[in-house]
């Protein structure tokens, strides 16, 4: 056990492990110290200085987020000196900040606004610095907007992009009064290595980084009597949405969400889980085909490991950073895009609506999905497959605008046809979920038996660890799959692009060999996506994760291939996995992109 250090905070004794900070010690005493640049996910910066406290014997104030505790330390968090300094610092931040709060996208969700309210900054008489700044607003990306006039230079986004995501699309440029968060050569986010993952948005304390909102466009579509508006909702939305609408993290609100979507006026309320199951059928078959080519035909061109392609942030990352591995990426579209392609073909025909009158909307825990829907490849239905992508947060905005008392809603079920998903589909929302779902199906296809894990729960693939590995020995294969007899199927799962970067380097260096890897761009997988409610940290992620797995275990159908709508669509329309029609609608191609 590590050494304990004794100190007092505001006269109250506390004992914490050596190496902890004053801020962490105060948290233990339930003494709140305001912070802005501090975030539990990130390394300590200590640059906003809002968290300063007084240390007896030190003639300067100390940043509690950065100062380690020491034996006998006496700290005061609420002296006149501290309060005056803190107030000054908040005032200073406000003078550089565009204070048009009522016109701000983050109005009501802004940490700076909260602090200003808490410290009653009402008679600001420092000079407003904004008019002399040449702040720019970048609205070019279809996914992320960056408004420098709202930025408080806390660098949470910079640390997120570098540490969690290993992307480095944004960094600090210039110094002194000119210092700003910028991109390479000050290009638009859409023109650099940015993966659109939106983790910067989730970690931004103000309105400097936000999703591009399509709420108004969706309202327009709903209001248009000529259009049939189809909505799909991703697995992670149902366990995140509640946080925006008065529920605790980890509350499952699937039924209420469906009910709210109907009340908003969507004509068809469907489920991305359906195409998550479809992804498993296509991707699982693709994996088995690749394995057959490698093991039976000795084809040297077959690319292994096969990597999942559900996460558009990951897809753009590999396009930028590891383009030589693009053949390894599954050709399957993400569930969102499979859904989009089917909504304007199969579904349109079923409901007898001209696909050009269909507006296809998706609700995603993700900002990269906005980019993905705008990729030129995503028009296989003959139309734009997915017209508008809203984040979980944007859906909450619509629900509030519509005056729906969310917590009072009754549970309702998705429409039938493309509205049913298995438990295997739900777990797509958590890191390891695609792997678990794929194994549940693939193992059964190959052996005719369920995966050898109790209650179908493949525990090694679950959890927040950076890189998870699992290997399953395939035994007792059916006749068609004899070539897999005795093969040890090696798989790896990562979440967060920094971990992906490490995994890919391990593969590239030959340190590791796998058959199949699942990579999700965001920490925790989609449940921790860039479109999910803020604030987020690992506690929140774990609660959301538990909700996902509860949702799975409560469902009767927990394997993709047993989803009756999946069986039906292959019978009615697609014929079989990797069929000609599947290839046309459900698979895609990738492009090599610049390194920076």
């Amino acid at each position: 056990m590590s050494n304990m250090v004794n100190l007092t905070i505001n006269g109250i004794a506390v004992s914490v492990e050596e190496g902890k900070t004053i801020l962490e010690a105060a948290e233990k005493l339930h003494i709140k110290i305001p912070t802005l640049c501090y975030h539990k996910d990130l390394c300590v910066a200590g640059n906003c200085r809002v968290c300063v406290v007084e240390q007896v014997g030190n003639n300067k104030l100390v940043a509690s987020c950065a100062m380690p505790v020491s034996e006998g330390m006496e700290i005061n968090t609420n002296t006149l000196k501290v309060r005056n300094c803190r107030k000054h610092i908040i005032e200073l931040l406000l003078t550089e900040h565009n204070e048009e709060c009522t016109k701000c996208y983050r109005n009501g969700h802004c940490e700076l606004q909260e602090l200003a309210a808490e410290y009653q900054i009402t008679n600001q008489d420092f000079i407003d610095l904004v008019p002399d700044k040449s702040y720019t607003v970048d609205r070019i990306s279809p996914a992320i907007e960056k408004d420098d006039s709202k930025c408080i230079r806390c660098q949470r986004c910079v640390r997120t992009c570098a540490e969690i995501q290993s992307v480095g699309a944004i960094a600090v440029a210039h110094k002194g009064s000119e210092m700003k968060i910028s991109t390479v050569f000050d290009r638009a986010l859409d023109e650099v290595v940015c993966t659109n993952c939106g983790q910067c948005i989730v970690h931004c304390p103000t309105g400097a980084l936000t999703e591009k909102s399509y709420v108004e466009k969706v309202w327009d579509a709903i209001a248009d009597p000529e259009t049939h508006v189809v909505v799909q909702t991703a697995p992670a939305v149902r366990i995140g949405l509640g946080e925006e609408l008065g529920f605790d993290p980890g509350t499952r609100v699937t039924g209420k969400m469906v009910s709210a979507l109907r009340r908003l006026g969507f004509d068809s309320v469907l489920d991305t889980d359906f195409t998550a199951d479809l992804t498993i059928m296509e991707e699982g078959t693709e994996l088995l085909t690749r394995l057959k080519r490698a093991l039976v035909e000795d084809d040297p061109d077959v690319a292994l490991p096969m990597a999942t392609s559900c996460s558009p942030g990951w897809v753009k990352y590999i396009e930028h950073k590891y383009p030589e591995y693009l053949p390894n990426l599954s050709t399957c579209k993400s569930p969102q895009q499979m859904f989009g392609a089917l909504a304007k073909t199969y579904y349109a025909k079923k409901i007898k609506v001209d696909p050009q009158n269909i507006v296809s909307v998706s609700i995603m825990p993700c900002t990269a999905k906005k980019y993905e829907a705008n990729r030129p490849e995503m028009k296989d239905s003959g139309y734009k497959d997915v017209d508008f992508v809203l984040t979980t947060r944007e859906l909450a905005v619509m629900i509030r605008q519509a005056g729906i008392e969310f917590e009072k809603l009754n549970d309702e079920s998705f429409d039938s046809m493309m509205g049913t998903g298995s438990g295997a589909a739900v777990i797509f929302g958590a890191t390891g979920g695609v792997m678990e779902a794929a194994l549940r199906t693939a193992y059964e296809i190959v052996t005719g038996r369920e995966v050898p894990f109790e209650n179908l729960e493949i525990l090694p693939v679950r959890g927040l660890n950076g890189v998870k590995e699992v290997s399953i020995k395939i035994e007792g294969t059916l006749d068609d799959w004899k070539f897999l007899e005795g093969v040890e199927l090696k798989c790896a799962i990562t979440n967060g692009l920094e971990n992906a970067h490490q995994l890919m380097d391990n593969i590239k260096n030959g340190d590791r060999f796998y058959h199949f890897i699942e990579i999700m761009a965001c920490p925790g997988g989609c449940l921790g996506g860039g479109g999910q409610p803020y604030p987020v940290d690992n506690d929140v992620r774990l609660k959301r994760m538990q909700a996902i797995y509860n949702e799975d275990s409560d469902l009767a159908i927990r394997k993709s291939h047993e989803n009756p709508e999946i069986v039906q669509i292959y019978k009615d329309f697609l014929e079989e996995p990797l069929s000609h029609k599947s290839h046309k609608l459900l698979h895609t191609t990738y492009v090599k992109r610049e390194q920076y």
């Binding site: 640059n47 906003c48 200085r49 300067k60 380690p68 000079i127 002194g176 009064s177 210092m179």
Partner: protein, 395 residues
Amino acid sequence: MTTTKKQLHRIDLIFKNEQDCKEILRNALARSNQEVINEMVNSGLKGRGGAGFPTGLKWKLTAEQKVDEKFVICNADEGEPGTFKDREILTRVPHKVLSGMAVCAKIIGARKGYIYLRGEYKFLVPNLKKELRRFHDILDELGLDFRVEIFMGSGAYICGEESALFESMEGKRGEPRNKPPFPTEIGYLNKPTVINNVETLAHSYTILKYGAKKFRELGVKDSRGSKVFSVSGDTPIPGIYELELGMSVQDFVDDFGDGDTKAVQVGGASGFLVPRKRFGKTSIGYQGKLTGISLPTGGSMMIFNSSRSMYNVLNNYLDFFEEESCGQCTPCRVGCQQLLKGIKAVKRGEKPASYLDKLLKLTDTMKLTAKCGLGQSVANSFSSIVENFREEMIY
């Protein structure tokens, strides 16, 4: 200058032409580490960059770290406005600086040293390189496994701050780190590092040659030894002078002023302005606390006569800080902008004179909360100028 006044004692230690560095090194390397550390501690030498941390203690703390890889860095990023003495030391007696680095390296257990050279001092490089080759030959002869490289800075003032300097050397943006940990534990490449100013290292040569006792004889309590001053401004004899610490500003002005001295800026833009009425009460040196009675300096002494507008002087400093703040911490980045814009607004009559008091309170906050010495010390010149020349700020 009145003839009755005794001229300040000019010291000739640092620039003395001594070519015996091989002997000095041989002797120093032959002594035990503890002996040399004691010598350094007893000398009372404090960091000559301006912050005044005891050099012997710095070496001792770094020597105590049980880590394989350590570094010695010579901070030659001389960027404080009005300071130009390190340039002269590196030009005239680079071997003394290198000798100091080598002895330090032996004591702490470093095999690698760097001179972090101010970007604008690029012209020194050819000469320094020649000197380095000569010096490395001597080290080989003496059997000390130590090499020094030159690392070029790129012109940011903040990179003279030691932890920003490390960041810059590591290829990152030059921004100060949180302290603790201090460089003696976690410095360049997260290894224990001694980082000393050029002059400090040159003084260590003097101490090793003549002994701590001789060094201590110079100066006063808390402020031992001599110091190289960069004298500029309204003086008939600008230049570089080695003087004893502890002198009063009055004595300094008597020697260097033009007879019409209104104020002296001690320690450059980040130092204090001493008005005429306080010349006699203020001395140059380090005391436990900054009292305004004893002022430290990295060597910059700027003399202003009565033709100078103190508003322009302050405006000039604030322009500098507003641009040279790294920009990461709020009090420094925004505080400097507010101070600069604030004094302009008062001057133009857009803000009342009482706004100066609000700005003075702001400098208190900057002093208490800024992340590094830059932001903390903006208050020095601001408050000493505004408090002593308030009317010049307004009218």
